[in-house]
Symmetry: C3
Subunit: 203 residues, 3 copies
Amino acid sequence: MELISFITIGGTISFAASGALAGIRKELDIFGVTVIAFVTAIGGGTIRDLLLGHFPVKWLTDFQIILLIMVVSVLTVIFRKKIEKLDKTLLFFDTLGLGFFTLKGIEAGLAAELSVLSCLILATITACFGGVIRDIILNEIPALFQKEIYATACIIGGILFFILKRFHLDNQNTQFIVFVVIVLIRFLAIKFNFSLPKIKNSI
Amino acid sequence: MELISFITIGGTISFAASGALAGIRKELDIFGVTVIAFVTAIGGGTIRDLLLGHFPVKWLTDFQIILLIMVVSVLTVIFRKKIEKLDKTLLFFDTLGLGFFTLKGIEAGLAAELSVLSCLILATITACFGGVIRDIILNEIPALFQKEIYATACIIGGILFFILKRFHLDNQNTQFIVFVVIVLIRFLAIKFNFSLPKIKNSI
Amino acid sequence: MELISFITIGGTISFAASGALAGIRKELDIFGVTVIAFVTAIGGGTIRDLLLGHFPVKWLTDFQIILLIMVVSVLTVIFRKKIEKLDKTLLFFDTLGLGFFTLKGIEAGLAAELSVLSCLILATITACFGGVIRDIILNEIPALFQKEIYATACIIGGILFFILKRFHLDNQNTQFIVFVVIVLIRFLAIKFNFSLPKIKNSI
């Protein structure tokens, strides 16, 4: 299996599993849990496709991804106690997914000849907004806007991408370095418990 | 009036009325109630059109549907006490709508040459996701993911559609049988109070 | 600077600032606050573009608007205490934005050869639905559906637009009159504390 397929599949699995677990926590039925697994896994890419006008949106034509998410959702329901203990494995793949989907978002923006800022926005949407839709449906304020270094890792990685490109580094090395940096930032942020400061209304 | 127009109109009316009643329960103003009636009635088809790339989305070019939903919304506000007592009539048309919009979703998927799985997903979205948007706007976890056999009826009907097609049944008979089966499943589920089991986090 | 650019920029600034303030009130981090500023400022136009099929959606190709919103968001965070005291200035620009974006929505509908009703809907969506998305993400029932004369001003202005057009008033004068009427309705509604009646479920 190629490295890229491995990362896409691993990322999709961990996004879907995290969505399914969130649905289980809200005591949804199996249909609801599967929908949440879906929107978490493909929501970011779907918003990107909608904003750019790529139709049909990508996952609709990708039989394997749909099947994969459904299987992950059912397995997560069956083995929910065990999967919750896999926290670190899920986090590992989630973070690989973060790096990979960030690169996909930048690529889509460049292909549409958008500005650097728009590419960074598309990267962040692709990598992070599945979780935003998940939280909106589950009636929570999106965790992405409150906790952890998550979008920040995408954005820093994305800026690095355009700096390296400016210095005419070839595409493959650029992507590799950006990917590694995003993954590192996220792991370090978790290890040392970094997060963006909340804006206190009272100060 | 043709049977199909009768079902579309009946389905749209009952979707809009159920949306309006939900808005009234949250004490929205007349504008808010009308918006909720709208998204409940045309939300599912709109998501389908967006995912497939059909523009402008269908209802925008359908003057009659827009007017119908507005009239239903105003009438529901005026006669809200009486309409709440029409529960069974609304439920009847809602269920016809469920069967009919499921078929519309499958058709749209087939026309876009999508896989069976994607067609089933589009069918479910077309028939059921207006109610999901309604619940998200009204700040509730979507009832579709927690209660009743509703999406399940669509999905079973959709699977039956592809089984009958496999056996080369002609299109008209297939559609008729699928429609009847969806309506039956929903009525039986309500009568005998079936629902999908909730996933208990604690088990 | 032309009058129209002045109004667009003023409207965008006040929409973004109101979004940022709403995010600050929910104690989001700086990333979350910026996202809320974004969806409030460009959400309505984005839904309009999605429904009509204009891709990429307009703001993605508009570097200056993106930068403007980001700057407004950061400034709102830094000077939040002072900006809250600018209530009247913000309200002034917000209302200019309301009038201007209403006209943009009608224009888009006419360009797509849609019915009068659809044009009015697009006008309302363009001018008001950024705030709806903001409220949905922040886990509130949209204020637009409960309080104040806001959408009502758009709708009355929109209807006036088509009446004046019917009387063959030239486009520039029509737009000017409609703009002034929308702004007046909103200011009077605020001054005299008008709002649409809530629909009481109990009556």
